[in-house]
Amino acid sequence: MDLRFSEEDRAFQEKARAFIEENLPADIRAKVRGGLRLYKDDYVRWHRILAKQGWLVPEWPVVHGGTDWTPVQRYIFLEEQARAYAPRLVAFGIKMVGPVIYTFGSQRQKDHYLPRILSAEDFWCQGYSEPGSGSDLASLQTKAVHKGDHYIVNGTKTWTTMAQYADKMFCLCRTNTDAKFQEGISFLLIDMKQPGVEVKPIRTMDGSQEINTVYLTDVRVPVEDRVGEENEGWTYAKFLLSHERSGIARIGASKAQLDKLREIARREPCGDGCLLDDEDFRREIAQVEIDLHTLEYTELRALTAAAKGEPPGPEANVLKIRGTEVQQKISELLMRAMGYYALPYLPEAMEYGYNEDPVGPETAAPLAAYYFNMRKTSIYGGTNEIQRNIIAKMVLGL
């Protein structure tokens, strides 16, 4: 047993840190650090910088653009990015549809779509949830009717993150209404820029519009844009759940937010000193720091086991549950740290380049919105209740 990173991994960490420091644009860093609004261009810029270095998709097979890094090194790279306040890249292309295509797709799909994911020429979104199918995703109703060399798709997808930016959507559709739910689903690749696709933003309680509802009316999808076999879509969807789950606990991002919290607590006046002098607040920070520390080593244990080829256990579910709880706790402490100055709602102050005097401290503007926005983490990606069901059933046999 050995806790230390190997010589190799430490050298890797330094190389990663240096690269990020030299290449992360200052304005993007400032936006992420300040909790300010990010736009498509911010994600695409960082995506392309990583792609140019060949470090965009380390977990992909080398033949498709991946690297030969170990799971621990991939973890280190994600963490270094997060701690340097690089934006967390959207998963849909690089972590979701890309792996599905290189694993199950046709040669044509691999040749056509994979390079466009790497270059960010195609920005992807995920068509899974529907108004009537959230946790019970398999019950989805969007229909794809096979007509000659096309499918005609009708239905409604919702909670579609960044659909407003998307060129493409990978979409679970029902191709067989007579079979059991899971056995009648196909995985289609849909062109968002065609008639019949309507994207309507959903405003969330924090004031942002990062998610959407997508209405599909007689949308034509060439059969050659179906991935894998008809009615096998659920298999590919489940593959995604067990595939590359590193980063699911958002350890790096939480560490960065915790750094930010300590800095804010050091500057916020409280009594005769600062908030960090307050024993109770310090204790709350200590608790979350300890929780994050234990989570980090839980993830590293899982990664090192996976690297040895051991079969996965419930780690992904555990990490999702606890990772999101820690993220939420930190967001709550950030808001509470601000006292009264968490209360003003100035959406304009959440934009990079805001030039007016802040109301209260400069860091205050996005914190309440961040607390509200983070409530989604225990809901998305499989609610924490569903995650617990999975562990209870699969691991505990209950």
Partner: protein, 376 residues
């Protein structure tokens, strides 16, 4: 021992509930939040006509002669409706400062106007460095002949932009964190040297940063004792907390019933979500938190005029702790139980959640009051 409302109080409650039912669905509220002032002057007029603005004021001053229980009834109803009119800032804060502290002349001049809706008040106390300590005041008032000159900046003044008169805590003696040496002034919002930066708050209501630059304030605008305002400020803060606790109870009640209804109607896996035991237990925990909060809030109101200061102060602090903790638990749980829908602006539930988050912060969060409780 009796925890029931008397007949008039029950009528008051029914009247507030009816007003909410008829005027305050979510669409109505959205319009008010988006409006220039952030509230409806028509509603304000109706509230005055119905006697609500003067509910806790003596009849001599245009009120109906009620007290903290009437305030509690109104605030709980306003919580259920997520009312945006400046009742709390103007009546509970401003009104109590005047009622409990001003000389008769000032009371006669201001309170009837408060009751009839023609005068709106705000209380400017928080400063950049003060966090939750009401005595931490840098804004200074220098005596100049028969008047005072006010200089300083007050933060997050609730409904500060639309107030006609702003009651300001300022330092007339002592160091920044001395409890002695504070004086309250009733400042004309339109006075020379007063500038206000208005904004929305996270709950859809309004506040302002207010700067005072050499503002001339006559000596007869002093409320309470010169250098000795702290006891009055503490008294009004207690009344504020009791009122906010009542509002929070109304919010929690609604969140509980909205969520329960959602669990009965939303189906996944072929049955209503409410059939899943894990969620049933969560709903029960929400119910328990509501009941506890109601008890704590009730006692806080009932002990406001208790002669035993320790008992009174503990009841108030306990309520703020309880509703802060319960508010977070119920708020977060209700959003979670609504799933993705809970995150949307479209649903009512998130608006309740945001107001509860606001309430936890006002006049000291749950951690602040838990910390100070043992010494009370």
């Amino acid at each position: 021992m009796d925890f029931s409302l008397n007949e008039e109080q029950q009528l008051l409650k029914d009247s507030v509930d009816r007003f909410i039912r008829e005027n305050y669905d979510l669409a109505d509220r959205r319009k008010l939040v988006a409006s220039a002032d952030g509230f409806s002057r028509d509603h304000w007029r109706v509230m005055a006509e119905l006697g609500w603005l003067g509910a806790a004021l003596p009849e001599d001053y245009g009120g109906i002669g009620g007290g903290p229980v009437e305030t509690m009834v109104i605030m709980e109803g306003f919580g259920r409706g997520l009312v945006v009119e400046p009742y709390f800032a103007s009546v509970v804060l401003g009104g109590n400062l005047i009622l409990m502290g001003a000389v008769d002349g000032l009371k006669s001049a201001l309170l009837p106007k408060l009751a009839d809706g023609s005068l709106q008040l705000a209380f400017a106390f928080a400063e950049r460095q003060s966090r939750y300590d009401l005595f931490d005041v840098e804004t200074g008032a220098a005596k100049t002949g028969g008047a005072y000159r006010l200089n300083g900046q007050k933060g997050v003044v609730l409904d500060g932009a639309t107030a006609d008169t702003i009651i300001v805590s300022a330092r007339t003696a002592g160091g920044r964190r001395d409890k002695a040496g504070l004086t309250l002034f009733a400042v004309d919002g339109a006075a020379k040297g007063v500038s206000r930066r208005r904004y929305r708050t996270i709950d859809g209501l309004r506040a302002a940063e207010i700067t005072f630059e050499n503002v001339e304030v006559p000596a007869d605008a002093v409320i309470g004792a010169v250098d000795g305002a702290m006891p009055l400020i503490d008294d009004v803060a207690r009344r504020a907390i009791a009122a906010l606790s009542a509002e929070a109870v109304g919010i929690m009640d609604r969140m509980q019933s909205l969520t329960n209804e959602y669990l009965k109607t939303r189906q996944q896996f072929g049955r209503p979500l409410g059939k899943f035991q894990a969620l049933q237990h969560r709903m029960v925990d929400i119910l328990i938190a509501c009941e506890e909060s109601r008890s704590a809030a009730l006692v806080a109101t009932l002990r406001l005029d208790d002669g035993n200061a320790s008992q009174r102060d503990k009841a108030v602090a306990a309520a703020k702790v309880k509703i802060g903790q319960s508010g977070r638990f119920i708020g977060q749980s209700a959003i979670q139980l609504h799933g993705g829908m809970g995150m949307t602006d479209e649903m009512h539930i998130s608006h309740y959640f945001k107001r509860l988050s606001m309430i936890d912060t006002l006049f000291g969060d749950h951690a602040y009051h838990l910390k100070r409780y043992p010494a009370l």
